[in-house]
Protein backbone atom coordinates (compact mmCIF):
# COMPACT_ATOMS: atom_id res chain seq x y z
CA UNK A 1 0.00 0.00 0.00
CA UNK A 2 1.19 3.51 -0.75
CA UNK A 3 2.65 5.65 2.00
CA UNK A 4 -0.07 8.26 1.59
CA UNK A 5 -2.36 5.72 3.20
CA UNK A 6 -1.03 5.57 6.74
CA UNK A 7 -1.56 3.15 9.58
CA UNK A 8 -3.49 5.70 11.57
CA UNK A 9 -5.88 6.19 8.67
CA UNK A 10 -6.43 2.45 8.57
CA UNK A 11 -7.01 2.42 12.31
CA UNK A 12 -9.55 5.23 12.09
CA UNK A 13 -11.49 3.45 9.37
CA UNK A 14 -11.54 0.37 11.58
CA UNK A 15 -12.80 2.15 14.70
CA UNK A 16 -15.12 4.57 12.93
CA UNK A 17 -16.49 2.08 10.43
CA UNK A 18 -17.19 -0.72 12.83
CA UNK A 19 -18.72 1.55 15.47
CA UNK A 20 -20.94 3.18 12.88
CA UNK A 21 -22.22 -0.07 11.44
CA UNK A 22 -22.67 -1.63 14.86
CA UNK A 23 -24.93 1.26 15.81
CA UNK A 24 -26.84 1.00 12.53
CA UNK A 25 -27.30 -2.71 13.18
CA UNK A 26 -28.66 -2.05 16.66
CA UNK A 27 -31.05 0.50 15.17
CA UNK A 28 -32.22 -1.99 12.56
CA UNK A 29 -32.65 -4.59 15.27
CA UNK A 30 -34.93 -2.22 17.13
CA UNK A 31 -36.96 -1.55 14.03
CA UNK A 32 -37.17 -5.24 13.18
CA UNK A 33 -38.61 -5.94 16.61
CA UNK A 34 -41.35 -3.42 15.90
CA UNK A 35 -42.18 -5.19 12.64
CA UNK A 36 -41.88 -8.82 13.71
CA UNK A 37 -45.20 -8.99 15.64
CA UNK A 38 -47.06 -8.29 12.37
CA UNK A 39 -46.02 -11.62 10.89
CA UNK A 40 -44.64 -13.91 13.58
CA UNK A 41 -47.96 -15.66 14.39
CA UNK A 42 -47.43 -14.95 18.09
CA UNK A 43 -51.20 -15.12 18.60
CA UNK A 44 -50.84 -18.88 18.28
CA UNK A 45 -48.33 -19.17 21.12
CA UNK A 46 -49.77 -20.74 24.24
CA UNK A 47 -48.82 -23.28 26.92
CA UNK A 48 -49.17 -26.19 24.53
CA UNK A 49 -46.94 -24.58 21.90
CA UNK A 50 -44.39 -23.68 24.58
CA UNK A 51 -44.31 -27.31 25.71
CA UNK A 52 -44.02 -28.31 22.07
CA UNK A 53 -40.96 -26.14 21.58
CA UNK A 54 -39.37 -27.79 24.61
CA UNK A 55 -40.10 -31.22 23.16
CA UNK A 56 -38.64 -30.06 19.85
CA UNK A 57 -35.48 -28.91 21.60
CA UNK A 58 -35.07 -31.69 24.13
CA UNK A 59 -35.16 -34.34 21.42
CA UNK A 60 -32.80 -32.38 19.20
CA UNK A 61 -35.09 -32.53 16.16
CA UNK A 62 -32.92 -29.79 14.59
CA UNK A 63 -30.08 -32.36 14.49
CA UNK A 64 -31.68 -33.98 11.42
CA UNK A 65 -34.29 -31.52 10.13
CA UNK A 66 -34.33 -27.90 9.04
CA UNK A 67 -36.91 -25.50 10.46
CA UNK A 68 -37.41 -22.50 8.17
CA UNK A 69 -34.23 -23.61 6.42
CA UNK A 70 -31.99 -23.77 9.47
CA UNK A 71 -30.71 -26.93 11.06
CA UNK A 72 -29.46 -30.15 9.54
CA UNK A 73 -29.96 -31.38 5.99
CA UNK A 74 -30.50 -35.08 6.66
CA UNK A 75 -34.28 -35.02 6.83
CA UNK A 76 -37.12 -32.88 5.42
CA UNK A 77 -37.91 -29.23 6.13
CA UNK A 78 -40.52 -28.94 8.89
CA UNK A 79 -41.46 -25.25 8.69
CA UNK A 80 -44.29 -26.21 6.34
CA UNK A 81 -44.87 -29.82 7.39
CA UNK A 82 -48.30 -28.98 8.80
CA UNK A 83 -49.40 -27.92 5.33
CA UNK A 84 -47.66 -30.93 3.75
CA UNK A 85 -49.55 -33.25 6.11
CA UNK A 86 -52.88 -31.86 4.96
CA UNK A 87 -53.14 -29.41 7.88
CA UNK A 88 -53.73 -32.27 10.26
CA UNK A 89 -52.11 -32.37 13.69
CA UNK A 90 -53.48 -35.90 14.01
CA UNK A 91 -51.46 -36.99 10.98
CA UNK A 92 -48.34 -35.41 12.49
CA UNK A 93 -48.88 -37.17 15.81
CA UNK A 94 -49.56 -40.45 14.09
CA UNK A 95 -46.35 -40.24 12.10
CA UNK A 96 -44.14 -39.40 15.07
CA UNK A 97 -45.79 -42.08 17.22
CA UNK A 98 -45.34 -44.87 14.71
CA UNK A 99 -41.57 -44.71 14.05
CA UNK A 100 -40.09 -48.24 14.37
CA UNK A 101 -37.65 -48.61 17.27
CA UNK A 102 -35.11 -50.54 15.23
CA UNK A 103 -35.39 -48.27 12.19
CA UNK A 104 -35.99 -49.31 8.61
CA UNK A 105 -33.32 -51.66 7.17
CA UNK A 106 -30.90 -49.83 4.87
CA UNK A 107 -32.76 -46.55 5.03
CA UNK A 108 -32.60 -43.32 7.01
CA UNK A 109 -35.20 -43.48 9.72
CA UNK A 110 -36.45 -41.27 12.46
CA UNK A 111 -35.93 -42.50 16.03
CA UNK A 112 -38.84 -43.57 18.22
CA UNK A 113 -38.91 -40.85 20.88
CA UNK A 114 -41.57 -42.44 23.13
CA UNK A 115 -43.40 -39.15 23.61
CA UNK A 116 -46.38 -38.90 25.92
CA UNK A 117 -49.80 -37.92 24.53
CA UNK A 118 -49.29 -34.42 25.95
CA UNK A 119 -45.87 -34.07 24.36
CA UNK A 120 -47.22 -35.29 21.02
CA UNK A 121 -49.98 -32.70 21.19
CA UNK A 122 -47.35 -30.07 22.03
CA UNK A 123 -45.01 -30.87 19.17
CA UNK A 124 -47.86 -30.99 16.66
CA UNK A 125 -49.19 -27.62 17.84
CA UNK A 126 -45.66 -26.20 17.75
CA UNK A 127 -45.20 -27.25 14.12
CA UNK A 128 -48.60 -25.80 13.28
CA UNK A 129 -47.59 -22.51 14.90
CA UNK A 130 -44.32 -22.35 12.93
CA UNK A 131 -46.19 -23.06 9.71
CA UNK A 132 -48.26 -19.96 10.45
CA UNK A 133 -45.26 -17.63 10.50
CA UNK A 134 -45.44 -15.29 7.53
CA UNK A 135 -42.08 -15.67 5.82
CA UNK A 136 -41.00 -13.43 2.95
CA UNK A 137 -42.11 -14.74 -0.46
CA UNK A 138 -43.91 -17.43 1.49
CA UNK A 139 -40.70 -19.46 1.81
CA UNK A 140 -40.19 -22.47 1.34
CA UNK A 141 -40.59 -22.31 -2.46
CA UNK A 142 -43.06 -25.18 -2.61
CA UNK A 143 -44.83 -27.83 -0.58
CA UNK A 144 -41.80 -30.16 -0.61
CA UNK A 145 -39.90 -27.69 1.56
Amino acid sequence: MKETFTKSMARNIYYGGSMFFLLVFIGLTYDTHQEIPKRDNHEAINEVVALGKRVWEENNCIGCHTLLGEGAYFAPELGNVYTRFGESTEALKGFIKSRPVEGIPGRRSMPQFNLSEEELEGIAEFLKYVDGIETARDWPPNIQG
Binding site: E58, G63, G69
Partner: protein
Protein backbone atom coordinates in the same frame (compact mmCIF):
# COMPACT_ATOMS: atom_id res chain seq x y z
CA UNK B 1 10.41 -19.37 23.04
CA UNK B 2 11.10 -16.09 24.78
CA UNK B 3 8.93 -16.57 27.86
CA UNK B 4 8.56 -19.68 29.96
CA UNK B 5 4.80 -19.24 30.41
CA UNK B 6 4.19 -19.52 26.67
CA UNK B 7 4.60 -23.24 27.20
CA UNK B 8 1.04 -23.61 28.56
CA UNK B 9 -0.05 -23.35 24.94
CA UNK B 10 1.33 -26.82 24.28
CA UNK B 11 -1.29 -28.72 26.25
CA UNK B 12 -4.06 -26.62 24.70
CA UNK B 13 -2.81 -27.61 21.25
CA UNK B 14 -2.54 -31.29 22.14
CA UNK B 15 -6.12 -31.29 23.45
CA UNK B 16 -7.29 -29.39 20.37
CA UNK B 17 -5.76 -31.91 17.98
CA UNK B 18 -7.15 -34.92 19.86
CA UNK B 19 -10.65 -33.50 19.71
CA UNK B 20 -10.11 -32.72 16.02
CA UNK B 21 -9.59 -36.44 15.44
CA UNK B 22 -12.86 -37.17 17.27
CA UNK B 23 -14.65 -34.60 15.14
CA UNK B 24 -13.50 -36.21 11.91
CA UNK B 25 -14.36 -39.74 13.06
CA UNK B 26 -17.94 -38.62 13.65
CA UNK B 27 -17.94 -36.80 10.32
CA UNK B 28 -17.07 -40.06 8.61
CA UNK B 29 -19.81 -41.87 10.56
CA UNK B 30 -22.38 -39.33 9.38
CA UNK B 31 -21.08 -39.49 5.84
CA UNK B 32 -21.84 -43.22 6.01
CA UNK B 33 -25.31 -42.64 7.46
CA UNK B 34 -26.07 -40.44 4.48
CA UNK B 35 -25.74 -43.45 2.19
CA UNK B 36 -26.46 -46.42 4.44
CA UNK B 37 -29.33 -44.96 6.39
CA UNK B 38 -29.40 -47.50 9.21
CA UNK B 39 -25.65 -47.42 9.86
CA UNK B 40 -25.21 -47.54 13.67
CA UNK B 41 -28.96 -47.00 14.13
CA UNK B 42 -30.41 -46.76 16.73
CA UNK B 43 -27.20 -46.73 18.81
CA UNK B 44 -25.83 -43.49 17.34
CA UNK B 45 -28.65 -41.64 15.57
CA UNK B 46 -27.59 -39.05 13.01
CA UNK B 47 -28.53 -36.09 15.18
CA UNK B 48 -26.27 -37.29 17.99
CA UNK B 49 -23.35 -37.83 15.62
CA UNK B 50 -23.88 -34.39 14.14
CA UNK B 51 -23.90 -32.76 17.52
CA UNK B 52 -20.67 -34.49 18.47
CA UNK B 53 -19.11 -33.51 15.12
CA UNK B 54 -20.01 -29.83 15.31
CA UNK B 55 -19.52 -29.37 19.05
CA UNK B 56 -16.11 -31.01 18.97
CA UNK B 57 -15.26 -28.67 16.11
CA UNK B 58 -16.20 -25.60 18.10
CA UNK B 59 -14.56 -26.79 21.31
CA UNK B 60 -11.29 -27.74 19.64
CA UNK B 61 -11.18 -24.45 17.79
CA UNK B 62 -11.66 -22.68 21.13
CA UNK B 63 -8.82 -24.75 22.60
CA UNK B 64 -6.67 -23.76 19.64
CA UNK B 65 -7.57 -20.05 19.93
CA UNK B 66 -6.74 -20.14 23.62
CA UNK B 67 -3.47 -21.94 23.01
CA UNK B 68 -2.61 -19.48 20.26
CA UNK B 69 -3.34 -16.57 22.60
CA UNK B 70 -1.25 -18.01 25.41
CA UNK B 71 1.65 -18.41 23.02
CA UNK B 72 1.28 -15.13 21.19
CA UNK B 73 0.39 -12.69 23.93
CA UNK B 74 3.45 -13.02 26.22
CA UNK B 75 5.71 -12.62 23.21
CA UNK B 76 3.86 -9.55 21.95
CA UNK B 77 3.51 -8.06 25.42
CA UNK B 78 7.12 -8.81 26.31
CA UNK B 79 6.28 -10.21 29.70
CA UNK B 80 5.30 -13.52 31.27
CA UNK B 81 1.65 -14.51 31.26
CA UNK B 82 -0.31 -12.79 34.04
CA UNK B 83 -1.23 -16.11 35.64
CA UNK B 84 0.05 -19.40 34.22
CA UNK B 85 -1.66 -21.19 37.10
CA UNK B 86 -5.06 -19.86 36.06
CA UNK B 87 -4.35 -20.90 32.47
CA UNK B 88 -3.55 -24.41 33.65
CA UNK B 89 -6.59 -24.65 35.88
CA UNK B 90 -8.92 -23.46 33.12
CA UNK B 91 -7.43 -25.99 30.76
CA UNK B 92 -8.48 -28.87 32.99
CA UNK B 93 -11.90 -27.41 33.73
CA UNK B 94 -12.60 -26.92 30.04
CA UNK B 95 -11.30 -30.35 29.09
CA UNK B 96 -13.33 -32.15 31.76
CA UNK B 97 -16.48 -30.14 31.00
CA UNK B 98 -16.07 -30.82 27.29
CA UNK B 99 -15.42 -34.52 27.77
CA UNK B 100 -18.39 -34.93 30.13
CA UNK B 101 -20.68 -33.15 27.69
CA UNK B 102 -19.66 -35.35 24.77
CA UNK B 103 -19.98 -38.46 26.92
CA UNK B 104 -23.42 -37.19 27.91
CA UNK B 105 -24.40 -36.99 24.24
CA UNK B 106 -23.22 -40.54 23.62
CA UNK B 107 -24.32 -42.35 26.78
CA UNK B 108 -27.79 -40.90 27.23
CA UNK B 109 -30.60 -40.03 24.90
CA UNK B 110 -30.71 -36.29 24.40
CA UNK B 111 -33.96 -35.96 26.34
CA UNK B 112 -32.45 -37.88 29.26
CA UNK B 113 -29.48 -35.52 29.18
CA UNK B 114 -31.86 -32.56 29.17
CA UNK B 115 -33.66 -33.92 32.23
CA UNK B 116 -30.42 -34.83 33.98
CA UNK B 117 -29.03 -31.32 33.57
CA UNK B 118 -32.27 -29.56 34.53
CA UNK B 119 -32.82 -28.00 31.15
CA UNK B 120 -36.36 -27.05 32.21
CA UNK B 121 -34.97 -24.50 34.69
CA UNK B 122 -33.41 -22.46 31.90
CA UNK B 123 -34.00 -24.15 28.55
CA UNK B 124 -31.17 -23.41 26.13
CA UNK B 125 -30.58 -26.86 24.63
CA UNK B 126 -31.59 -28.27 21.27
CA UNK B 127 -30.59 -25.41 19.00
CA UNK B 128 -28.04 -25.99 16.27
CA UNK B 129 -24.43 -25.60 17.52
CA UNK B 130 -25.78 -24.61 20.95
CA UNK B 131 -26.83 -28.12 21.97
CA UNK B 132 -24.72 -28.12 25.15
CA UNK B 133 -26.62 -28.45 28.44
CA UNK B 134 -27.18 -25.06 30.09
CA UNK B 135 -24.73 -25.98 32.83
CA UNK B 136 -22.02 -26.61 30.23
CA UNK B 137 -22.79 -23.23 28.70
CA UNK B 138 -22.28 -21.63 32.11
CA UNK B 139 -18.97 -23.48 32.33
CA UNK B 140 -17.95 -22.13 28.92
CA UNK B 141 -18.70 -18.59 30.10
CA UNK B 142 -16.62 -19.05 33.25
CA UNK B 143 -13.68 -20.47 31.32
CA UNK B 144 -13.96 -17.72 28.70
CA UNK B 145 -14.06 -14.97 31.31
CA UNK B 146 -11.07 -16.32 33.23
CA UNK B 147 -9.21 -16.69 29.96
CA UNK B 148 -10.02 -13.19 28.70
CA UNK B 149 -9.07 -11.79 32.12
CA UNK B 150 -5.71 -13.58 32.07
CA UNK B 151 -4.92 -12.52 28.52
CA UNK B 152 -6.26 -9.01 29.07
CA UNK B 153 -4.12 -8.44 32.17
CA UNK B 154 -1.04 -9.64 30.35
CA UNK B 155 -1.66 -7.32 27.42
CA UNK B 156 -2.67 -4.27 29.40
CA UNK B 157 0.30 -4.43 31.77
CA UNK B 158 2.81 -5.13 29.00
CA UNK B 159 3.76 -3.78 25.61
CA UNK B 160 0.59 -3.13 23.66
CA UNK B 161 0.79 -4.04 20.00
CA UNK B 162 -1.85 -3.82 17.31
CA UNK B 163 -1.73 -7.60 16.95
CA UNK B 164 -2.42 -8.27 20.61
CA UNK B 165 -5.10 -5.60 20.89
CA UNK B 166 -6.96 -6.88 17.84
CA UNK B 167 -6.71 -10.38 19.24
CA UNK B 168 -8.08 -9.18 22.57
CA UNK B 169 -10.98 -7.41 20.87
CA UNK B 170 -11.82 -10.61 19.04
CA UNK B 171 -11.68 -12.68 22.21
CA UNK B 172 -13.83 -10.27 24.20
CA UNK B 173 -16.31 -10.28 21.33
CA UNK B 174 -16.31 -14.07 21.32
CA UNK B 175 -17.21 -14.14 25.01
CA UNK B 176 -19.80 -11.37 24.76
CA UNK B 177 -21.68 -12.74 21.76
CA UNK B 178 -21.81 -16.20 23.33
CA UNK B 179 -24.07 -14.71 26.01
CA UNK B 180 -26.89 -14.60 23.46
CA UNK B 181 -26.90 -18.39 23.68
CA UNK B 182 -28.79 -17.95 26.95
CA UNK B 183 -31.69 -16.15 25.32
CA UNK B 184 -34.21 -18.64 24.06
CA UNK B 185 -37.75 -17.30 23.72
CA UNK B 186 -40.67 -19.51 22.69
CA UNK B 187 -41.25 -17.16 19.74
CA UNK B 188 -39.35 -18.89 16.95
CA UNK B 189 -38.72 -15.70 14.95
CA UNK B 190 -37.07 -14.02 17.92
CA UNK B 191 -35.19 -17.20 18.83
CA UNK B 192 -33.74 -17.37 15.33
CA UNK B 193 -33.04 -13.64 15.14
CA UNK B 194 -30.80 -13.73 18.22
CA UNK B 195 -29.33 -17.16 17.56
CA UNK B 196 -27.46 -15.59 14.65
CA UNK B 197 -25.87 -13.09 16.98
CA UNK B 198 -23.85 -15.99 18.28
CA UNK B 199 -23.29 -17.90 15.07
CA UNK B 200 -22.90 -15.24 12.39
CA UNK B 201 -21.32 -12.54 14.54
CA UNK B 202 -18.81 -15.16 15.60
CA UNK B 203 -17.64 -16.59 12.29
CA UNK B 204 -18.17 -13.51 10.14
CA UNK B 205 -17.32 -11.00 12.85
CA UNK B 206 -15.16 -11.36 15.91
CA UNK B 207 -13.53 -14.66 14.96
CA UNK B 208 -12.14 -12.96 11.87
CA UNK B 209 -10.33 -10.56 14.18
CA UNK B 210 -8.76 -13.53 15.93
CA UNK B 211 -7.91 -15.05 12.55
CA UNK B 212 -6.37 -11.79 11.32
CA UNK B 213 -4.30 -11.30 14.46
CA UNK B 214 -2.88 -14.83 14.47
CA UNK B 215 -2.11 -14.64 10.76
CA UNK B 216 -0.38 -11.28 11.23
CA UNK B 217 1.68 -12.67 14.12
CA UNK B 218 2.86 -15.70 12.19
CA UNK B 219 3.65 -13.58 9.13
CA UNK B 220 5.73 -11.17 11.21
CA UNK B 221 7.65 -14.14 12.57
CA UNK B 222 8.23 -16.11 9.39
CA UNK B 223 8.80 -13.26 6.93
CA UNK B 224 10.54 -10.67 9.08
CA UNK B 225 8.59 -7.94 7.29
CA UNK B 226 8.32 -4.66 9.16
CA UNK B 227 5.59 -4.70 11.79
CA UNK B 228 4.28 -1.30 10.66
CA UNK B 229 3.39 -2.68 7.24
CA UNK B 230 1.71 -5.76 8.65
CA UNK B 231 -0.31 -3.79 11.18
CA UNK B 232 -1.65 -1.46 8.53
CA UNK B 233 -2.89 -4.45 6.56
CA UNK B 234 -4.42 -5.96 9.67
CA UNK B 235 -6.36 -2.80 10.46
CA UNK B 236 -7.76 -2.45 6.99
CA UNK B 237 -8.72 -6.12 6.78
CA UNK B 238 -10.64 -6.15 10.03
CA UNK B 239 -12.18 -2.78 9.20
CA UNK B 240 -13.66 -4.33 6.07
CA UNK B 241 -14.71 -7.39 8.02
CA UNK B 242 -16.84 -5.46 10.47
CA UNK B 243 -18.10 -2.86 8.01
CA UNK B 244 -19.51 -5.60 5.78
CA UNK B 245 -20.07 -8.42 8.25
CA UNK B 246 -22.21 -6.77 10.91
CA UNK B 247 -25.07 -5.71 8.64
CA UNK B 248 -24.19 -8.81 6.58
CA UNK B 249 -25.95 -10.77 9.34
CA UNK B 250 -28.99 -9.85 7.29
CA UNK B 251 -28.28 -12.73 4.87
CA UNK B 252 -29.80 -14.93 7.59
CA UNK B 253 -32.87 -12.73 7.97
CA UNK B 254 -34.37 -13.49 4.57
CA UNK B 255 -36.88 -16.27 5.32
CA UNK B 256 -37.47 -16.43 9.06
CA UNK B 257 -40.36 -14.01 9.42
CA UNK B 258 -38.26 -10.82 9.56
CA UNK B 259 -39.07 -7.67 7.51
CA UNK B 260 -38.47 -7.63 3.76
CA UNK B 261 -35.84 -4.89 3.86
CA UNK B 262 -33.33 -7.50 5.03
CA UNK B 263 -33.42 -8.95 1.52
CA UNK B 264 -31.66 -5.81 0.30
CA UNK B 265 -29.49 -5.05 3.29
CA UNK B 266 -28.42 -8.65 3.79
CA UNK B 267 -27.67 -9.21 0.12
CA UNK B 268 -25.70 -6.01 -0.44
CA UNK B 269 -23.59 -6.06 2.71
CA UNK B 270 -22.87 -9.76 2.74
CA UNK B 271 -21.96 -9.64 -0.95
CA UNK B 272 -19.06 -7.43 0.16
CA UNK B 273 -17.93 -9.85 2.87
CA UNK B 274 -15.51 -11.62 0.50
CA UNK B 275 -13.47 -8.37 0.26
CA UNK B 276 -11.62 -8.80 3.58
CA UNK B 277 -10.95 -12.44 2.74
CA UNK B 278 -9.53 -11.44 -0.61
CA UNK B 279 -7.37 -8.83 1.06
CA UNK B 280 -6.11 -11.49 3.43
CA UNK B 281 -4.91 -13.51 0.45
CA UNK B 282 -3.14 -10.49 -1.05
CA UNK B 283 -1.69 -9.73 2.36
CA UNK B 284 -0.25 -13.19 2.97
CA UNK B 285 1.29 -13.56 -0.49
CA UNK B 286 2.65 -10.03 -0.48
CA UNK B 287 4.35 -10.46 2.86
CA UNK B 288 5.87 -13.78 1.88
CA UNK B 289 7.15 -12.27 -1.38
CA UNK B 290 8.67 -9.35 0.49
CA UNK B 291 10.20 -11.58 3.15
CA UNK B 292 13.43 -10.43 4.69
CA UNK B 293 14.40 -13.85 5.94
CA UNK B 294 13.88 -17.45 4.95
CA UNK B 295 12.38 -19.10 7.97
CA UNK B 296 13.37 -22.74 8.23
CA UNK B 297 9.79 -23.73 9.07
CA UNK B 298 8.53 -24.09 5.49
CA UNK B 299 5.48 -26.01 6.62
CA UNK B 300 4.23 -23.09 8.71
CA UNK B 301 4.56 -20.76 5.72
CA UNK B 302 2.59 -23.23 3.62
CA UNK B 303 -0.19 -23.38 6.23
CA UNK B 304 -0.30 -19.58 6.41
CA UNK B 305 -0.64 -19.19 2.65
CA UNK B 306 -3.10 -22.07 2.57
CA UNK B 307 -5.27 -20.40 5.18
CA UNK B 308 -5.48 -17.22 3.17
CA UNK B 309 -6.42 -19.02 -0.05
CA UNK B 310 -8.85 -21.52 1.42
CA UNK B 311 -10.58 -18.97 3.63
CA UNK B 312 -11.15 -16.85 0.55
CA UNK B 313 -12.50 -19.82 -1.40
CA UNK B 314 -14.67 -21.27 1.36
CA UNK B 315 -16.00 -18.11 2.96
CA UNK B 316 -15.58 -15.65 0.10
CA UNK B 317 -16.41 -17.59 -3.04
CA UNK B 318 -18.70 -20.29 -1.65
CA UNK B 319 -20.33 -17.75 0.66
CA UNK B 320 -20.99 -15.34 -2.18
CA UNK B 321 -22.47 -18.13 -4.26
CA UNK B 322 -25.63 -18.32 -2.14
CA UNK B 323 -25.73 -14.99 -0.32
CA UNK B 324 -27.97 -12.98 -2.66
CA UNK B 325 -31.59 -13.28 -1.59
CA UNK B 326 -33.00 -14.41 -4.98
CA UNK B 327 -30.48 -17.27 -5.03
CA UNK B 328 -30.73 -18.05 -1.34
CA UNK B 329 -34.49 -18.44 -1.84
CA UNK B 330 -33.67 -21.72 -3.58
CA UNK B 331 -30.49 -22.82 -1.82
CA UNK B 332 -31.41 -22.00 1.79
CA UNK B 333 -30.85 -25.00 4.03
CA UNK B 334 -29.62 -27.41 1.37
CA UNK B 335 -26.39 -29.28 0.66
CA UNK B 336 -25.09 -25.98 -0.77
CA UNK B 337 -25.11 -24.66 2.77
CA UNK B 338 -23.23 -27.73 3.99
CA UNK B 339 -20.66 -27.38 1.20
CA UNK B 340 -19.97 -23.77 2.17
CA UNK B 341 -19.96 -24.52 5.91
CA UNK B 342 -17.27 -27.16 5.44
CA UNK B 343 -14.86 -25.24 3.29
CA UNK B 344 -15.29 -22.00 5.23
CA UNK B 345 -14.71 -23.55 8.64
CA UNK B 346 -11.81 -25.60 7.37
CA UNK B 347 -10.19 -22.85 5.31
CA UNK B 348 -10.48 -20.10 7.87
CA UNK B 349 -10.51 -21.52 11.37
CA UNK B 350 -9.11 -25.01 11.12
CA UNK B 351 -6.23 -23.88 8.94
CA UNK B 352 -5.31 -20.83 11.02
CA UNK B 353 -5.21 -23.10 14.08
CA UNK B 354 -2.94 -25.53 12.29
CA UNK B 355 -0.80 -22.61 11.08
CA UNK B 356 -0.19 -21.47 14.63
CA UNK B 357 0.41 -25.00 15.84
CA UNK B 358 2.82 -25.63 12.99
CA UNK B 359 4.76 -22.48 13.78
CA UNK B 360 4.87 -22.72 17.56
CA UNK B 361 4.97 -26.42 18.42
CA UNK B 362 8.55 -26.99 17.22
CA UNK B 363 9.68 -23.95 19.20
CA UNK B 364 7.95 -25.19 22.32
CA UNK B 365 9.68 -28.51 21.79
CA UNK B 366 13.03 -26.75 21.77
CA UNK B 367 13.86 -26.25 18.08
CA UNK B 368 13.29 -23.52 15.49
CA UNK B 369 11.64 -25.90 13.09
CA UNK B 370 11.11 -29.59 12.57
CA UNK B 371 13.48 -31.76 10.60
CA UNK B 372 13.16 -31.82 6.82
CA UNK B 373 11.61 -35.28 6.98
CA UNK B 374 8.96 -34.21 9.49
CA UNK B 375 8.15 -31.10 7.49
CA UNK B 376 7.82 -33.08 4.29
CA UNK B 377 5.31 -35.35 5.96
CA UNK B 378 3.45 -32.40 7.43
CA UNK B 379 3.20 -30.85 3.98
CA UNK B 380 1.82 -34.12 2.65
CA UNK B 381 -0.88 -33.96 5.30
CA UNK B 382 -1.56 -30.35 4.30
CA UNK B 383 -2.24 -31.40 0.73
CA UNK B 384 -4.20 -34.52 1.64
CA UNK B 385 -6.53 -32.66 3.96
CA UNK B 386 -6.86 -29.55 1.82
CA UNK B 387 -7.44 -31.31 -1.48
CA UNK B 388 -9.91 -33.76 0.05
CA UNK B 389 -11.79 -30.83 1.60
CA UNK B 390 -11.97 -29.23 -1.84
CA UNK B 391 -13.49 -32.45 -3.15
CA UNK B 392 -15.93 -32.74 -0.23
CA UNK B 393 -17.05 -29.22 -1.08
CA UNK B 394 -17.35 -29.91 -4.81
CA UNK B 395 -19.36 -33.10 -4.30
CA UNK B 396 -21.70 -31.43 -1.83
CA UNK B 397 -22.12 -28.53 -4.23
CA UNK B 398 -23.07 -30.91 -7.01
CA UNK B 399 -25.48 -32.69 -4.68
CA UNK B 400 -26.88 -29.32 -3.63
CA UNK B 401 -27.48 -28.06 -7.14
CA UNK B 402 -29.36 -31.22 -8.05
CA UNK B 403 -31.29 -31.16 -4.79
CA UNK B 404 -32.37 -27.58 -5.41
CA UNK B 405 -33.42 -28.39 -8.95
CA UNK B 406 -35.31 -31.60 -8.19
CA UNK B 407 -37.01 -30.49 -5.02
CA UNK B 408 -37.51 -26.75 -5.45
CA UNK B 409 -36.85 -25.41 -8.93
CA UNK B 410 -38.52 -27.73 -11.42
CA UNK B 411 -42.20 -27.54 -12.25
CA UNK B 412 -42.65 -31.08 -11.00
CA UNK B 413 -40.88 -31.11 -7.62
CA UNK B 414 -40.25 -34.44 -5.91
CA UNK B 415 -40.12 -35.03 -2.16
CA UNK B 416 -37.04 -34.47 -0.05
CA UNK B 417 -36.37 -38.18 0.43
CA UNK B 418 -36.85 -38.96 -3.27
CA UNK B 419 -34.37 -36.25 -4.16
CA UNK B 420 -31.88 -37.59 -1.63
CA UNK B 421 -31.97 -41.00 -3.29
CA UNK B 422 -31.33 -39.55 -6.71
CA UNK B 423 -28.19 -37.75 -5.59
CA UNK B 424 -26.78 -40.64 -3.58
CA UNK B 425 -23.73 -41.04 -5.80
CA UNK B 426 -22.38 -37.68 -4.65
CA UNK B 427 -22.75 -38.69 -1.03
CA UNK B 428 -20.68 -41.80 -1.74
CA UNK B 429 -18.01 -39.64 -3.33
CA UNK B 430 -18.10 -37.28 -0.36
CA UNK B 431 -17.59 -40.22 1.98
CA UNK B 432 -14.55 -41.38 0.01
CA UNK B 433 -13.10 -37.87 0.18
CA UNK B 434 -13.86 -37.82 3.90
CA UNK B 435 -11.81 -40.97 4.41
CA UNK B 436 -8.91 -39.38 2.53
CA UNK B 437 -9.27 -36.41 4.87
CA UNK B 438 -9.02 -38.77 7.84
CA UNK B 439 -5.89 -40.34 6.36
CA UNK B 440 -4.44 -36.86 5.92
CA UNK B 441 -5.11 -36.14 9.56
CA UNK B 442 -3.40 -39.35 10.64
CA UNK B 443 -0.38 -38.44 8.49
CA UNK B 444 -0.41 -35.06 10.23
CA UNK B 445 -0.25 -36.74 13.63
CA UNK B 446 2.56 -39.02 12.51
CA UNK B 447 4.58 -36.00 11.40
CA UNK B 448 4.92 -34.98 15.04
CA UNK B 449 6.88 -38.14 15.77
CA UNK B 450 9.26 -38.11 12.81
CA UNK B 451 12.82 -37.50 13.90
CA UNK B 452 15.76 -36.29 11.80
CA UNK B 453 18.33 -33.55 11.69
CA UNK B 454 16.78 -30.32 12.85
CA UNK B 455 17.62 -27.06 11.11
CA UNK B 456 19.93 -24.75 12.99
CA UNK B 457 19.29 -21.08 13.56
CA UNK B 458 17.79 -18.68 15.99
CA UNK B 459 14.09 -18.31 16.43
CA UNK B 460 12.57 -15.02 15.36
Amino acid sequence: MKYQSQLVAQKYFIAALSLFLGQILFGVIMGMQYVVGDFLFPEIPFNIARMVHTNLLIVWLLFAFMGASYYLVPEESERELYSPALANLMFWIFLVAGALTVLGYLLFTYSELAALTFNELWPTMGREFLEQPTITKVGIVIVALAFVFNIGMTILTGRKTVVSLVLLTGLVGLAVFFLFAFYNPVNVVLDKYWWWWVVHLWVEGVWELILGAILAFVLIKVTGVDREVIEKWLYIIIAMTLITGIIGTGHHYFWIGTPDYWQWLGSIFSAMEPIPFFMMTLFAFNMVNKRRRDHPNKAAVLWALGTAVMAFLGAGVWGFMHTLAPINYYTHGTQITAAHGHMAFYGAYVMISLTMISYSMPIMRGKVANSQAAQTLEMWSFWLMTVSMVFITLFLTAAGILQVYLQRFTDTPITFMQAQEKIEIFYWLREVSGIVFLIGLIVYFISFFVKGEEPQGVEA
